[in-house]
Symmetry: D4
Subunit: 251 residues, 8 copies
Amino acid sequence: MSLSVRQVLQRVSEGTMSVEDALLHVKEKPFEDLGFAKVDLHRRVRQGAAEVIYGAGKTPEQIVGILEAMRRNGQGPVLITRLSPEAAEAVGRSCALDYHEEPRVGIVGDLPQPDGIGRIIVATGGTSDIPVAEEAALTAEVLGSEVQRLYDVGVAGLHRTLSHLEDIMSASVLIAVAGMEGALASVLGGLAECPVIAVPTSVGYGVSFGGLAALLAMLNSCSSGVTVVNIDNGFGAGYCANRINHMGVKR
Amino acid sequence: MSLSVRQVLQRVSEGTMSVEDALLHVKEKPFEDLGFAKVDLHRRVRQGAAEVIYGAGKTPEQIVGILEAMRRNGQGPVLITRLSPEAAEAVGRSCALDYHEEPRVGIVGDLPQPDGIGRIIVATGGTSDIPVAEEAALTAEVLGSEVQRLYDVGVAGLHRTLSHLEDIMSASVLIAVAGMEGALASVLGGLAECPVIAVPTSVGYGVSFGGLAALLAMLNSCSSGVTVVNIDNGFGAGYCANRINHMGVKR
Amino acid sequence: MSLSVRQVLQRVSEGTMSVEDALLHVKEKPFEDLGFAKVDLHRRVRQGAAEVIYGAGKTPEQIVGILEAMRRNGQGPVLITRLSPEAAEAVGRSCALDYHEEPRVGIVGDLPQPDGIGRIIVATGGTSDIPVAEEAALTAEVLGSEVQRLYDVGVAGLHRTLSHLEDIMSASVLIAVAGMEGALASVLGGLAECPVIAVPTSVGYGVSFGGLAALLAMLNSCSSGVTVVNIDNGFGAGYCANRINHMGVKR
Amino acid sequence: MSLSVRQVLQRVSEGTMSVEDALLHVKEKPFEDLGFAKVDLHRRVRQGAAEVIYGAGKTPEQIVGILEAMRRNGQGPVLITRLSPEAAEAVGRSCALDYHEEPRVGIVGDLPQPDGIGRIIVATGGTSDIPVAEEAALTAEVLGSEVQRLYDVGVAGLHRTLSHLEDIMSASVLIAVAGMEGALASVLGGLAECPVIAVPTSVGYGVSFGGLAALLAMLNSCSSGVTVVNIDNGFGAGYCANRINHMGVKR
Amino acid sequence: MSLSVRQVLQRVSEGTMSVEDALLHVKEKPFEDLGFAKVDLHRRVRQGAAEVIYGAGKTPEQIVGILEAMRRNGQGPVLITRLSPEAAEAVGRSCALDYHEEPRVGIVGDLPQPDGIGRIIVATGGTSDIPVAEEAALTAEVLGSEVQRLYDVGVAGLHRTLSHLEDIMSASVLIAVAGMEGALASVLGGLAECPVIAVPTSVGYGVSFGGLAALLAMLNSCSSGVTVVNIDNGFGAGYCANRINHMGVKR
Amino acid sequence: MSLSVRQVLQRVSEGTMSVEDALLHVKEKPFEDLGFAKVDLHRRVRQGAAEVIYGAGKTPEQIVGILEAMRRNGQGPVLITRLSPEAAEAVGRSCALDYHEEPRVGIVGDLPQPDGIGRIIVATGGTSDIPVAEEAALTAEVLGSEVQRLYDVGVAGLHRTLSHLEDIMSASVLIAVAGMEGALASVLGGLAECPVIAVPTSVGYGVSFGGLAALLAMLNSCSSGVTVVNIDNGFGAGYCANRINHMGVKR
Amino acid sequence: MSLSVRQVLQRVSEGTMSVEDALLHVKEKPFEDLGFAKVDLHRRVRQGAAEVIYGAGKTPEQIVGILEAMRRNGQGPVLITRLSPEAAEAVGRSCALDYHEEPRVGIVGDLPQPDGIGRIIVATGGTSDIPVAEEAALTAEVLGSEVQRLYDVGVAGLHRTLSHLEDIMSASVLIAVAGMEGALASVLGGLAECPVIAVPTSVGYGVSFGGLAALLAMLNSCSSGVTVVNIDNGFGAGYCANRINHMGVKR
Amino acid sequence: MSLSVRQVLQRVSEGTMSVEDALLHVKEKPFEDLGFAKVDLHRRVRQGAAEVIYGAGKTPEQIVGILEAMRRNGQGPVLITRLSPEAAEAVGRSCALDYHEEPRVGIVGDLPQPDGIGRIIVATGGTSDIPVAEEAALTAEVLGSEVQRLYDVGVAGLHRTLSHLEDIMSASVLIAVAGMEGALASVLGGLAECPVIAVPTSVGYGVSFGGLAALLAMLNSCSSGVTVVNIDNGFGAGYCANRINHMGVKR
C-alpha cells in the first residue's frame, strides 16, 4: 500500500486507519528498491539518525548506488563502515568522501556540530584497540555527540586510568574498548555513574580466541552498569551511546 | 587513609589534596568490613542506586549480616537477587521481606514511587521467559522507574508484537527478554527509537545451549540500537535501563 | 554382481530375486569408475534429478572427466557448485558452460522450463547473503521449479518483509537465507503456511562465528515449520525445496 | 485495531484497506490474552494445523488455562508436548487427556483419521531413540498423516535397514531419528527419493555432547535431500513432515 | 630393582651406577602398592612437601588405607582435598582429622609453624570465591608458609583493593582467586612486584561457563607476571605459591 | 528375502546368486524383531564375538527380552554394559548374572578360558580411572583374551610406570585409560612396540571438561602407535584390543 | 650414562644392572643430538619401523640434517610427511627423493616388498579425501604392508560400498578416511570383521568445522570395532594399521 | 596530581599524605603520554624489570616513538616481542637492534651479565616449539637470569628427557614448552622439585586447535607444581620465571 504520509494522517483523522497502522506506515515507507538492496529513506525521521552503510560484502558499485539513492532523497551525512581502502578510492571518485583508514570509516557530508548535550568517553585498553575505538567515536560524532578519547588506559597500569578519574565520573556515557582479558569494562563500570557500553576487540592471541575471551569477561562483569556489543563492533557502541546521550533531549 | 568527607574537602580547599585524590576518597570510602564481605555504604551517593545483594552463593546468615550492616548505615530499599525460597524464609524471620518467588527476588523496604520520568518496557518472547523479565522489571521499579510489561510477544506470532507498536515506539528504554533463537531483540530494535537492552534466557533445549544461541543472536543483531547482558541477567538489564531512563534527570 | 536391468527384472519374475534385492540393484547400478570418482549414472532415474558435481576439492581435469562420463551416458543438464573462476575457465574450454560468478555455479546444458507446479521463494536478510541465495535459486531452477527472489528483507526493517506478505503466504516452499542473527527464518516461519528451509550464511563478523550464530538461531526457531541445512548450503536448500515442491506431482 | 474478519473484508472491498493489511489482520487476529500467554486462535485457519502447547516451563494451571481458552473458541484436537507425568495428572483432572508417557506427549480430543495422502516413515537408529521418534509420529498423526514406524535400524547392522528398502523408497517423507554418530540420515538420504528430515537425539555419552555430534553429522550429510531440526525435536520433524506430506492437497 | 638408598649410594661410590640412575632410584622408590593405589613414600624428601590425598573419586576406605600406609612409613601432616563431609566423618573415626567444611579440606597431623620466610597473600574477588581461596590458603599453611587473606576485594569496588596496596606490594607471592570476569588477576598483577598465581573459580552463571570465562581472562592477562591454574584448583595454587615462597631457602 | 543359509549357498553354487549377495545375506540374516529392538543373531559367526547389550537407555524388561531372544537362539556368554544396579537386580531375577558394580558390567554365562594368545595390558593413570579400565578388561576377558591390570601408574610418578617396563614391552596390545591431561597414552606409546588404544575418562574437574581434555591430548599424541575411542568407552577399547590380539589366529 | 649395548648386557650378566634398567638403556640409546633435534637411531630395532620425519615446521636444512644423521647410522627407507613442494625440491637436491605431491609425502630409499602378510584396505568417502588416504597408504607400504585402495565409496551411494563387500570382509585392517559426516567408519565397522581405524578429514565446509564433525561421528560410532586418530592424520592410521597387520608375525 | 618523588616523600614525612597514597604515586607516576601510548617510565623501579614493548599491532613508527621516549628517560635494555622482520628493519634504522628472527624478538641495549642466582631451564617437546622457547629464554636473559636450553625432549622418547635428569632436578625454575598433547609439563612436573611454568604452543594440526589441546592438558596436569600461561606466550613464561628465580634476592 503506497500512501503518502499526508494520506496516512488524513485516514487517521477520518477514522479509517488506526494509529498503529499509521505508525507502521511511517515506519514502513518508503524505501527505494535497488534490486540488491532496499534503501530505507525514513530512518532518519524514524530513529533520529543519518543512514549508515555497512560496507563489508558490498561492491564499490553497490555502495555508490546506495549513496545516490540517498542523495536523491535528500539524506544528510552518511556513515560508511568497514570500507576497504580500495572501495574508498572508488567511492571517492563519485563523491566527496572523508576517509579514515585505520578504522576503515568513510563519511559523506559534513560532521554536525556537537549539540552540547553530554559527553561520551571512548576509552581503550591498549594502542591496538584504537581502530575499533575510532569507529565508535566517529559514529557518535556523525550523529551529533561530543566525544572525548582516552586511549591506552588498560588495567595493568591502573594509574593511567585513575589519572582521568574526574573525566570518567562526569561523562554521560562510557565506551570501554578492550581486547585480551577485557577487564577495562569492569574497572570503568565500578568507577562510573553513567551507562557503560563494552566493546570487546579481536586484539590478542592464543586463547583470546579473536576477542571471545574479552567478550565473555565483559558479559560476566561484576560491575552492574555494563552492557555489551559484538566483537569489534565500534559502530554499534557509538550508535547506542549517542542514543543514550540524547535521551534527555526528547523529553 | 581514614579521612572524613569534611577532612577531604578541607584538604582540597587548602591545596594539599588534588581533586582526583579527593574523588577517589569519596569513591573509596567508607565500607564496612564484615570479614566475608566488604559492604559498600557510599554506593547510593556514588552511583545513584540502592544497594543490591547478589544472593547466590551466600548463606542466609551472610545475607542477614549484610542487611544489618546496611541498616546501621541508613540505607534505603535493598534488592536481593537470586534468593532461594529457603534463604528467603530465613531472611524473612529477621526483617520484613517482600519475596517474589518466580524471579527469586526479595525486597527489603518500600518500593519508591515512580518519579514520572520515562517508561521502560520489559517484553518477553514466551511464557517461560517471565521469571527473568520480572527480575528486570522489579529491579527497575526498586530504582524508581515506571515499568510496562509485554509478555509472550515472540516473533513466531508477529501480530502480537505489532499490536503494541505505539507503546513500543514511545518507550524510553526497551528490555527484550527471550530464549531459543532470541529474535525478539532484532525485531524490537528495528521498530524502536530508544535504546534496547537484550537479555538472553536459558529457555530452550538442545542447541539453545542454555541460552548461548539467544546470546549470539542478540550480539549479532542487525538492528543497530541493541546492547546485550549475560544470560538470565534480568537484574543487569533492569539496572542499566534505569540508568539510561534517568539520564535526562542529571542535566 | 553385474546384471542388466532386464536381467534383474527377469529374475524377479522368475522368483529368484526378491523385490528388495532388485530395488537395490537399480539403485546400485551402474556407476562408472574413473579411479578418483565413481560417477553415478542412475541417480536421475532414482532420485528424479540431474547429476550434480560438487566442485570444491576437485581439479578442473577431474571435473571435465566426470562431465564426459556423464555425457557418454546421456545425462541432461549438469549443475556444478563451488566452481572457482579458474576452474570455470578450464571447464568452459571443453564444453558450453553457463557460469554464475557470484554464487560460483556452473550449468552445462539448458535450463528446463518451469513445469508450472508451485513457486519457491528465496528470501535473504541482506545484500551479502545473495550469493548463497543464488546457489539455492539456480539449483531449484535447474531441477525445474519456478523461483521468486526476495532479497534484502531482513527483520531490522520489518516493513520490507511485510510488503511482500501476499507472496509469502501463497508460496509452496520458502527458503530463508540469512547470516548474523538469522531471525529471518523465524519471522517467515511465523507468517508462512508452507515448509520453510533455513540456510544460515557465513555473513557477519565477531560472534557470528562464520554462520554458527545464525545456524543455532534457526535450529532454535520458535516457528514450527522450519528445517535447516548447513551454513552456506544454498544447493542443499534448493535441492530439498524442489523435492518438496514436486511432492504433489508423483501422486 | 479490533476488526472482525467481516469488517476487514468490507474495507478491502471499499478500497480503504490494502490486501496486505487485510492479510496481516487475518494472521494477526484474534488472540486471547491470558496475561502469561497470548493464545493464538486463528492458527488452524492460518497454518492448517491444530494448536500445539509446548508444555515445558509451564505450570499445570497455565496449561489448563490455555486449554480452556482454546475450548472456548472451538479448537479441535490439541497436542501438548514435553508434558511431565505430574503435569499430565493435573491436566487429566480437568479434561480427557490421552497421555503417552515415554515421549511425554498429551493429546486432548480425538486423533483424526489419516486422510489417505502419502505415508510418513519414522525410523530410529536404536531403541533409546524411540521416545523422540514417538513425539514425531504422534505429532504427524494428530495432524492427519499416516505414519509407519521403523525402529532400531541403525547403520551398524545395515541389513536391518536394507530389509525395509521397498517401504523406504515409496514413502512420501522420511524422518530419521538417531543419536551417537547420526549416520542413519545419510544412509536413508542416499536410498530415498523423498525429503528426509533428520532429528538428532541426545542419546549417547562422552563426545556425543548431548546430541551435538549427531546434529553436526546430519548437517554435514553428503546426501542431498536432508534437512535438520533441533536435537530431540521430534515435534518439529513431525510438524514439517505433515506439511510436506500435504503439499499436494492444496493444489 | 629394589635397592635401598644406601645400596644406591654405595654403587655410585663404586662407579657401578651413574649419578642419573641413582637419582632415578631415589625418585622412583619406594612406593607401597595397595592395589588400587601406589602410595609414594619418598615425595616429602624428594619434593619437600607432605603427601597430599586427592579425595574426589576415592572411597572413605581407600582414603583410610592410604593414610595408614603413610603412617606406617612415618609421614608428617597429610592434606586431604575434595573430601566430602560424609567421607570426612568416616575418616575422622579412624584418626584425628581437622576438617574444614567450606573448602572440603581435611588435615591429619599438626599444622607446622610458619617458617618466617615470606608471606603469601590469598585474595578473592567476592564472597563466593572463599571456599577455593581457603583450599589455597590451607595448602600453603600445611606446607609451612605464612598466609594473609584479603577477601571480597573485586575490581567493581577498586577502593577495596587499593586500601591494601602496601600489603600487596610487600608480599612474596600473590594468589588471585576470582570467578565471573576474573579481572582481579590483572589488577593485582599490575600492582604487585611478585609472582601472581591466578585461580579462576566456577562462581558465576550464564556465560561464566563454570569458570571458563575467568580462566580465559586470566590467561589473556595484560599484566606480565601472571600464571594460571585449573578452575577451582586452590590446592595447585597454594602448592605452587609455597614452592615459590621457599625458593630462597634452598640457596 | 528370507533364505536359509543352505538356500543361499545352493544359489551360489547354481550361479543364480553372486558371492557378494550371499555374503550380504549371511551378514544380514537373521535377526529377531522384538519391536523395540532387532536382535542380531548372526553376529557371533560374523564378527567372532559374543553379543553385547548396551544397557543404558533400556528398561530391565527390554534387557530381559533381548537376553531371552538370544537364549532361544543359543548364544554364548552375553556382556551387558552400563547396567545400573537397579536393572542388574531385575535382570538377576530372571537369569544367573555375574554383576560387577564399579564398572556397571553384567555377564551372563561363563567366562571363556583365555586362549593363550597374546596378553592385553590395561593401565590407568589413577585410582579413579579403574571403573572404565575394568569395563575394558572384562570385555576383553569375555571375548577370550588374557588381561593384565596395571593401575595407578600415571606420569606424575614416572617410576611407577617404568617399574613395569618389561611387561609393557612384551604385551600384544596396550589399553591406556586416563583422565585429566591424558599423558599416559603418549608415554606408553613411546615405550611400547604394540598397538596402543587410548581411553580418555571423565575423571577430573574444571577444564578437564568431562574427559575432553584427555581425549584431545590422546588424539594429538606425538607417539605414533596410538588410536583413540570415545570418553569412558572401556567396552570399545576392550573389544578392539581383543580383535587385534586375535589377529594372528585367523591366519 | 653412555654404555654400549655390550656393556649393558655384560652388567646384566654380572648382576649389577637389572633387566628393567637394561631395557631402558636399549630404548634410550643412542640418539644423535643435532641441537635442534635429537635423532632417534634405535627406533627401528625398538619399534620395528623405519624412521619418520614430520616435515611440518622444519626448514629444508633441518630435514636434510636429520636425513644425513640417519644415513650416517645406516637407517633404511625414510618417510617424510607434510613435506611442502618447496622443501621437497630442496631435499631432492641433496638425495634421491620420491615425492608424492598430493599427500605431500616424500620417501628416501626403496619401498620394501610387501611381506605377504595380510592386506590393509584404505577406503575414502569422496574424491577430496584421497590425499589423506594416500598418506595412510604410502605409510603402510613403506613399512612393508600390502595396501588396497577403495576410493569414493561414501554412504550416500551405498551400492558403491556394497559392491566391494567381499574385499572388505577379507581384509586384515580397514582404514576409513572420510570428511563431512564421517559415516563411512560406522558402515564399514558394521560390515567388517577386522579392526577399523577411522581417519576424519578436514574436507567439508560450514559445520564440518575442519573435520571436527567427522571426528565426533567416528568417536561416537555405534559399530564396536572402530578406533580413531586425529583429523587428517593419514600417517598415524597407516602406522597403526601396519602394526596391527603384523601382529601375527611376532608370535 | 604531578608531584616529584621528593615532594611525595616530604608530604609523607609531614603527615599530609598516607603511605598508601604515596605508594600509589610512585606506582602511578610518571608516564609519558604519546597520544597513541602512555609510556610507563617507573616500571623498572617498580617491578624490577626493563621495559618491554609488545610489537604486534604497532607500526614501526609507534615502536620507534616509544623507544625514544624511553631513551629520553634513561631506560636500560628494552625487549621488543612479536616484532616482524619488516618492523625490525625499520626500527634497526633508528637504533642498534639485536634481532632474533625465529622468535621475532628484538633487543635494544646490552644483555646484562647473569647475576649468578639460580638457573632456568627452558625445555621443548619438539623442534617446532623452539621459536616460542627462544622468546622465553631471551626474555629471562634480558632480565638477568641464566638460562639452559633443552630442546626436543618430548615424552614419545622418554630417554631423551631422562638423560638430563640431574639438570632438571637442580634447576631453580623449569619452563616446559610443548604443543600437540602437551604432556611434557606433567612429566617434568613429576620429576622436578622447583616451580614449573608450562607454555602450550600452537604446534600441531587437527584437534590441536592451535594449541588449545596442549593448554587444556597443562591445566589438567596431575603434577602439582605446574602453572600455565597463554598459548605461545614465551615472553610471559620467561618474565615469570625470572621473577621466581630472583625471589631469594630481595630478602
